[in-house]
Amino acid sequence: MLYSEKVMDHFRNPRNLGTIDNADAIGEVGNAKCGDIMKMYLKIENGIITDVKFNTFGCGSAIATSSMATEMIKGKPIEEALQLSNRAVVEALDGLPAHKIHCSVLAEEAVKAALIDYYAHHPELEKPAALPEAIHCEDCAHCG
């Protein structure tokens, strides 16, 4: 089997699937040319991610990593969400095939992209040190 039971579970029954109408932050990463795009919607109250939804165009692992990442940041403070690593997502899914690791990178970046968007709309808030300046699709080795 290509995927672990956990990956298949999150692929078949994605958690937090959908969009948020009045989202406080939206992050989109990936490229249709590469075959995956993730879009993450956040609701943030007092520095806590109170709700999160996602939409993904991509393969089974792209959908599963999106789903897992949303579960891992839901209800968490922004600082903690910024610590989410692609490795943690992979571990939580009981592993991914080597050529699918980039999907987990995308999931991590989708969270960060959404948080960058949040602070862009809230210049009055102090940016956490862990917040990246920007997410560049071109930086990813996936497309070469």
Binding site: M8, R12, P14, K33, G35, F57, G60, I63, G144
Partner: protein, 396 residues
């Protein structure tokens, strides 16, 4: 509920005829065809019969048939033969098409590194090589033309007889990878001017791990595997007797039932196509009327192929896709890209390939489930949302 197997271009179920033909050679008749005693001679006789059968199905002479481990080996051997024979006369130019199987393309790549020059003919939007473009591409130093008989992903049947005629006129060796065609469309190596032809048993309800290479009399094969006098020294190694016997039985059966089978397979395929093309922003790749009876390749905008396959599998349907994720590489299928499809559309492809074993009920279930799965994936696709909202332009 039975599983719907719709990936016959990948492999097929072994036919009862082939299975029963193989059985004695897996057990009692285990002799080595090279042995002089009775058990060996019986195996030798089985090989002789199988060679005659395969030759008959291709309108070839039994001496022109070499048994191999499958289509890939036959492709490798054929192309290296063409290159080697050409190089002896100082000819180091090879012509092929952009959407060949990797067994062909990778062998050509290897030869390119060894100083050969390769021209890949375009296959245009419809998935066909143009004979006039081939004619123009042939040079004084062209050693070999290798163009597949029928494409494995979109099924388009190439103008093989016309290509053969041009090659004959120009005095260039012609190989065709007929892995998808053998047993499915009529093949006459003589009338079609074919010098070398590869086929694989498991694509026509024969066993896996066995194939054949036809080489016209006088074309001296380059030996890939050294070490014995089997296959007249052209392919060492004790012959896969049960496999070869199974292949011959399957090919004979496929050729005998070809017309009747194709009629019913095409009926199912066309019914499925008529319904699935009703899905908005979908497109058929290739030209089904000029293709293999069972192949239907489609793209659905805004969805990704691997997800589509996994969800269809959950609903009991086996199919294939040309998306990057299913290829194990990062790019979508080179076949779909060769048709000029943009990457994002090629990622959303679905290949259904039917055989005579598929039923009306199978077609009904494909027609029921594919639109549901496409709709579900579009619902969660940000690409589809952008298309719907006009932020991204529809390509198909």
């Amino acid at each position: 509920m039975n599983h719907v197997y719709a990936d016959n271009a990948a492999t097929t179920a072994l036919s009862d005829t082939a299975f029963n033909a193989m059985l004695p050679y897996l057990k009692e008749q285990f002799g080595n065809p090279s042995s002089l005693y009775m058990a060996g001679q019986k195996a030798q006789e089985a090989l002789y019969q199988a060679r005659e059968t395969v030759a008959r199905c291709l309108h070839a002479d039994p001496k022109e048939i070499t048994f191999t481990s499958g289509g890939s080996e036959a492709d490798n051997q054929a192309i290296l033969t063409g290159a080697f024979l050409g190089a002896q006369k100082g000819k180091k130019h090879l012509i092929s098409s952009a959407f060949e199987h990797h067994a062909v393309l990778h062998t050509l790549k290897k030869l390119e590194k060894q100083g050969f020059e390769v021209t890949l003919l375009p296959v245009h939007e419809d998935g066909f090589v143009r004979v006039d473009e081939l004619r123009e591409a042939i040079r004084e130093d062209t050693a070999l033309v290798t163009v597949m008989f029928a494409n494995n992903e979109i099924g388009t049947i190439q103008p093989i007889a016309e290509i053969g005629a041009v090659c004959r006129e120009k005095g260039v060796l012609f190989h065709t990878d007929a892995v998808q065609a053998a047993g499915h469309v009529p093949i006459d190596v003589q009338a079609m001017g074919i010098d070398l032809l590869s086929l694989s048993a498991h694509k026509f309800h024969g066993p896996k791990g066995v194939g054949a290479l036809y080489a016209k009399k006088g074309v001296r094969l380059f030996t890939l595997i050294e070490g014995g006098a089997q296959e007249r020294g052209k392919r060492a190694g004790t012959e896969n007797v049960p496999g070869i016997v199974g292949m011959a039985a399957a090919l004979e059966e496929a050729c005998a039932g070809m017309e009747k089978n194709n009629l019913s397979i095409k009926g199912l395929r066309d019914r499925i196509a008529a319904q699935l093309t009703k899905i908005p922003h979908s497109k058929i790749n290739g030209v089904p009327e000029r293709g293999l009876a069972g192949t239907l390749n489609m793209c659905f905008e805004g969805v990704e192929g691997e997800s589509l396959l996994l969800l269809l599998d959950d609903r009991g349907i086996s199919a294939s896709s040309g998306s990057a994720c299913t290829s194990g590489s990062l790019d979508p299928s080179h076949v779909l890209l060769a048709l000029g499809l943009p990457h994002e559309v090629a990622h959303g492809s679905l290949r259904l390939s039917l055989s005579a074993y598929n039923t009306e009920e199978d077609a009904r279930r494909i027609i029921e489930h594919v639109p549901q799965v496409v709709a579900y994936l579009r619902e969660m696709s940000p690409v589809w949302k952008d298309l719907e909202e006009g932020k991204r332009k529809h390509v198909i």
